[in-house]
């Protein structure tokens, strides 16, 4: 069975700090890994990673995938209170069109 484990489960940081969120996975015939941000309502897409070692970047957020060690990290630099959310990692196997989600990391950024 496909498995996605995220750590830490929750994190409280001060505005301006840099955080690293972790996602490790076990999946049959890996196809892609995705990161989502969930605030009060629906998850919103952040990144999709398919190749090892290629960093995806969007503003203060960046993510990288290591297919050998089966993990991904999501970095957020100069955090702001608006970054407070649950960050979800999901993997897609090559054999089926579905995503398996991790339990998420709840990030709280305080002033």
């Amino acid at each position: 069975e496909d498995k996605v484990v995220q750590s830490p489960l929750s994190l409280v940081v001060h505005e301006g700090d840099t955080v690293t969120l972790n996602c490790s996975y076990e999946v049959t015939n890996f196809r892609s890994l995705l990161w989502y941000k969930q605030e009060k309502k629906a998850p919103t897409f952040l990144f999709m990673l398919t190749s090892s070692g290629i960093e995806k970047k969007s503003g203060r957020l960046s993510s990288i995938l290591d297919k050998k060690e089966l993990f991904s990290i999501l970095n957020i630099t100069a955090t702001q209170t608006g970054d407070s959310a649950i960050y979800l990692c999901a993997v897609e196997p090559g054999t089926a069109s579905k995503l398996t989600f991790g339990t998420g990391t709840r990030l709280q950024v305080t002033l």
Binding site: L34, Y36, A42, P43, A90, A96, S97, K98, T103
Partner: protein
Amino acid sequence: DTAVSQTPKYLVTQMGNDKSIKCEQNLGHDTMYWYKQDSKKFLKIMFSYNNKELIINETVPNRFSPKSPDKAHLNLHINSLELGDSAVYFCASSQNTLEQYFGPGTRLTVT
């Protein structure tokens, strides 16, 4: 313009009742999904339809029946509601790449 919409946003009902949740996407995507998010925020896929055909049916009680009248709509009907069905149900859609766009969610409370 709303990309993925769901109705209703909130649903409070008694045990034993039958209810439906509707989902529509205007993105022209071929694939639609239903997810259940429990109180611990764990997001788990329930069903996936591609061009009106069921392609994923996870281990879900047969009281849950999805229906896709066309590729822009995927409705979820639930019979004989139970307390454990209380959750937030998210509809999502995607086109090939699995970058899924989520609806705002329907919070179902069974009393």
